[in-house]
């Protein structure tokens, strides 16, 4: 635990020691505003909710979160730091969890900085803050799932660009796996029950049900499981790839 704390602190300091943190936060805040007001027509809808704001988060995360995740491990391997880390008396799991949590806290911080949205919508009308809180939780979980995937792929390659592209593609597939277009493709060669399994892995369907204010254990468990599996995969990949 002490190790994980130290890793999180160090990672967070690193984010803010470089321009990454500021660029990410500014772009995230600007883009989420642009999406909500221009494409989501937050004002014109005349409803005091933040649905247009949260609806665009998956698409915003699709490009911004892989940019945070791509450096988690590939940078360590590139600089040769991995040799230093892996010879410290610390379990590999602690590194994987610590680095993941740091990235998650960082994205969470960017998410928290969107609070003026909540204030505005409360000022404009009588909004359901329960739904808003649930939506924030859903958005945070979605970001965590993206980060867990991105972290794993970042461990698989030394090249950050490759890590970024692979993460975008895989996250995109996970987002779309509930879409009819994708399922029709799988139906061509997979039995129906496997197609149903694929359909149930869609980030989007679980995310939308949370943002509607329904905190279903299944949806929360789904994200927890996804994050857990990808973190475990990261531990394996780090071990496999560290010497390359």
């Amino acid at each position: 635990m002490n190790h994980i704390n130290a890793i999180i602190r160090r990672e967070l300091q690193s984010y803010f020691a470089t321009p990454i943190a500021y660029v990410f936060i500014v772009i995230f805040l600007v883009m989420s505003g642009v999406f909500a007001f221009y494409f989501g027509r937050l004002y014109e809808r005349g409803q005091a909710d933040l649905l247009p704001f949260f609806n665009y988060h998956p698409w915003l995360y699709l490009f911004l979160v892989p940019a945070v995740a791509m450096r988690i491990w590939s940078e360590e391997r590139n600089r040769g730091n991995i040799e230093l880390l892996m010879t410290l008396p610390v379990k590999r799991m602690a590194w994987v969890i610590g680095k993941f949590l740091a990235a998650w806290v960082f994205v969470g911080l960017a998410l928290l900085l969107t609070f003026p949205m909540v204030i505005s919508i409360n000022y404009l009308g009588d909004s359901d803050n329960g739904v808003i809180i649930a939506s924030y939780l859903g958005s945070f979980l979605l970001a965590g799932a993206f980060l867990a995937i991105g972290g794993c792929l970042s461990a698989a390659t030394k090249n950050q660009v490759i890590a970024f592209i692979l993460t975008v593609v895989i996250c995109f597939l996970f987002l779309l796996s509930g879409f009819p277009m994708v399922l029709a493709f799988f139906k061509l060669f997979l039995p129906q029950f496997l197609v149903d399994v694929i359909a149930s892995t869609s980030f989007l369907s679980h995310y939308t049900s949370i943002t509607k204010g329904v905190l279903d254990l299944g949806d929360l468990g789904y994200f927890a499981l996804t994050i857990g599996i990808w973190l475990y995969a990261t531990v394996v990949v780090v071990e496999m790839k560290k010497g390359d």
């Binding site: 002490n2 190790h3 130290a6 890793i7 160090r10 300091q13 690193s14 020691a17 470089t18 600089r79 040769g80 730091n81 040799e83 230093l84 892996m86 010879t87 410290l88 008396p89 610390v90 379990k91 560290k242 010497g243």
Partner: protein, 313 residues
């Protein structure tokens, strides 16, 4: 103490390390020598628990690395090749981070950091970012993180590579002062370094040990052992005269440096004879010395035949 028995590491078809066994005792400074790609770094990476050996067994201070890797890592301080670190961090916070990760109790962390900062003269770069430091300072930061927990075993991959002569001297002095109660392994291809700090040298070529001895004994195998060198203007007549002496096996003359080297016949001591002869002939000698032996020549002799065989295959 480090015990390695029958270590092998294969990367696909390549045998980077092949059946390597040795024991390093406390108080010993062991130098790994060898051409690039000989397997020095790979061996160190296996001892520090970074890479698992394909075959073989490693024990550090009596603990089996495969059984309890974390306990072994606790005993070892490691300076990887190129002294990697977090470049965006400042020296002080970086060392504090390592102290925490090294399980140093909270109350002693700051004093551990202060102590290595003082030993490696890092005081005035304490608040500087590591990527703004010179190569010498970066290397010293790397050394500082390796010794912050006062490890029983210290493993350093090319600790003085890229340092200027003053910095090399400092690092070597530090190694010598630490050597009394530690087991130290360092790799290098600077042969003078082996003479300066190591009391045992292992030459590795193609993943196997080809020589294991003290540097002094290695030198005595050299053709240059007890050879006499002097710098003076000589003519061929005199050169031939020296060559014809009974106690002389061979003579070489370096025209650029005007340096003559006289090799004695097997086991003989010819310094007096040569200096007597030069005095008789009234030759102005600007330097006259007896050689202990040249490690680089021994190194080449031992490692090159192996490489040639490799090419033939």
């Amino acid at each position: 103490m480090i015990e390695c028995s029958h270590l092998s590491k294969h990367f696909g078809d390549v045998k980077a390390v092949n059946d390597l066994s040795f024991i390093a005792h406390q108080g010993q400074v062991l130098g790994f020598l060898g051409p690039n790609g000989a397997g020095k770094s790979t061996t160190m990476k296996m001892i520090t628990g970074f890479l698992p050996p394909t075959v073989g067994n490693i024990k550090v201070c009596g603990i089996d690395l495969a059984e309890d890797p974390v306990a072994v890592k606790n005993k070892i301080g490691y300076l990887p090749e190129g002294a990697p670190s977090y470049h965006e961090m400042k020296v002080g916070p970086f060392l504090q981070f390592i102290a925490r990760m090294r399980n140093i109790p909270y109350a002693q962390q700051q004093s551990a950091v202060d102590s290595v900062v003082a030993r490696l003269n890092l005081n005035h770069v304490y608040y500087q970012k590591i990527d703004t430091l010179s190569k010498g300072f970066k290397r010293r930061v790397g050394l500082a993180q390796a010794i912050i927990h006062d490890p029983e075993v210290l493993i350093m991959d090319e600790p003085t590579d890229g340092l200027d002569p003053n910095q090399k001297h400092q690092v070597r002095e530090l190694i010598t002062t630490m050597s009394k109660n530690k087991t130290i392994i360092l790799s290098t291809h600077i042969l003078e370094e082996v003479q300066a700090v190591c009391d045992r040298a292992i030459i590795i070529a193609n993943g196997a040990i080809v020589a294991d001895n003290t540097p002094t004994e290695m030198e005595s195998v050299s053709r240059y052992h007890h050879a006499v060198s002097f710098v003076a203007d000589l003519d061929t007549v005199l050169l031939n005269k020296i060559k014809d002496m009974d106690c002389v096996r061979d003579v070489t003359y370096n025209a650029r440096l005007k340096e003559t080297t006289v090799f004695p016949a097997q086991g003989l001591f010819i310094f007096d004879e040569i200096s007597e002869l030069l005095k008789q002939q009234g030759i102005q000698v600007s330097s006259l010395k007896m050689e202990a032996g040249r490690l680089d020549e021994v190194f080449r002799n031992i490692t090159q035949p192996v490489q040639k065989q490799e090419v033939k295959r």
